[in-house]
Amino acid sequence: MSGDYSYIFSSILSGLDATIEATLGGIALTIVLSFVAGLAMLSSSRWVRFVSRVYVEAFRGTSEVVQLFWLFFVLPALVGFKLIPLFAGIIVLGLNHGAYGAEIVRGAVQSVPKAQREGAIALSLSPFQRMFRVLLPQAVVEMYPPFNNLFIQLLKSTALLSFISAGEITEKGELLRPVYGSKLVFIYGVELVWYLLLAVLITVVMRFLERRGARRLGREPAVRKRRRRVSQKVPDTTGAGL
């Protein structure tokens, strides 16, 4: 009896690697794409703005599952090689959430007080210095809470990778289901607790980074009583829904 439970537990645990890899890989790609696309949307070149806008709208306008299926089942037929499931998953997670992150970056940079920009111009800083020495350091602090939501969303999306057999927690659980049909409470309980733990971990890390970032700017960290997520992903005021 207890052997069954420990088998189920260790079997689900064996998917934790893939879940964490997908989450961390997805987050890394999300951060890169968010900043590239987000800053590109603020570019003075119309073409750069146009290209980044198309990227953002295309990925925010379609379903993540469809994107996953497309990359995994259609792309191989077009280019002739197939991606490793986990790798394909990381790419889709990154591309999809990067599109949402781009709006976070754009919004945060735009919300830096205008005087900061004018001050930087008055000091004849180059556009590069203006962005990277003045605007971004202040904007980044504003980005932590929405990015926290986005990363938790990304963590939850890793469950979708079970569709392409990436070997993560949800898939491991589904493989157990036919055999241990009478222990579903335990199977799903263990899965849910893992996701919950990882979500809490992300929040803890992001809180820490936010406080550190605020201190570096000489600001008192905002006192927040508890985790509040008014809207998941981006406070969505501009685009194709969430």
Binding site: E57, A58, R60, G61, T62, S63, E64, V65, V66, Q67, F69, W70, F73, V74, A77, L78, I152, K156, S157, T158, A159, L160, S162, F163, T170, G173, E174, R177, S182, L184, V185, Y188, E191, L192, Y195, L196, A199, V200, R227, R228, R229, V230, S231, Q232, K233, D236, T237, T238, G239, A240, G241, L242
Partner: protein, 217 residues
């Protein structure tokens, strides 16, 4: 492999059939989410301490865990205790419950944005509590949050395809079926993606317009 127009044309009727299911799921799921979200938001403000804490924990738990697993729990686990839903109903309930945790935060923000004077005036007029809510607070809180609620409907629309895991015949599942029959994945999957764009882009423009109108309130 190149684009095959004939296969694309053949798959359109099935895809549209699937799209109808997706839209139905989204509308019904949103309805559940809007009602249940309001219930959660009101219970969170309940004076009975245990109730508000319990609802808070439930909301945080549902929101921090994947929708897909919640779908599995409703579809595979609940029948063990004698509650059985078909795949479509499971989808509506799972989407509705998951998004209710999002919309409850939206309502909460909307309710908190109602000026304190409104509450005080209601007390001064000695309106009963129920009447204060239905006659004063909610009529001011809800219109302001309509755009946010609309965005969640769009976002739910894009999350329905994961219900193919329990066999709901939505757009993507129809595309999958079609691909299995013809051995050509490119046309149905690409068209499925385009159908999502076709609906979510105009919807988000509508929501943006609504936002502008609400901004004038």
């Amino acid at each position: 492999m190149n684009w095959d127009w004939e296969n694309a044309r053949d798959s359109i009727p099935l895809l549209l059939q699937g799209l109808l299911v997706t839209v139905e799921l989204t509308l019904l799921g949103s309805l559940v989410a809007y009602v249940l979200g309001l219930v959660f938001a009101l219970l969170r403000r309940s004076r009975i301490p245990v109730v508000s804490q319990a609802v808070f924990l439930l909301v945080e738990f549902v929101r921090s865990t994947p929708l897909l697993i919640q779908v599995f729990v409703i579809f595979y686990l609940l029948p063990e205790v004698g509650i059985r839903f078909n795949a479509f109903t499971t989808g509506v309930i799972a989407l509705g419950l998951h998004y209710a945790t999002y919309t409850s935060e939206v309502y909460r923000a909307g309710i908190e944005a109602v000026p304190k004077g409104q509450w005080e005036a209601a007390t001064a007029l000695s309106l009963p509590r129920g009447r204060t809510w239905t006659g004063i607070i909610l009529p001011q809180a809800v219109p302001r949050v309509l755009p946010a609620l609309g965005n969640y409907m769009i976002s739910m629309f894009k999350e329905t395809p994961l219900l193919l895991a329990i066999g709901v015949l939505d757009v993507l599942n129809q595309a999958k079926e079609q691909a299995a029959v013809t051995f050509r994945a490119i046309e149905p999957y690409t068209l499925a993606g385009l159908l999502f764009l076709l609906i979510s882009l105009p919807s988000s423009i509508l929501v943006r317009r609504l936002e502008r109108r609400v901004g004038q309130l």
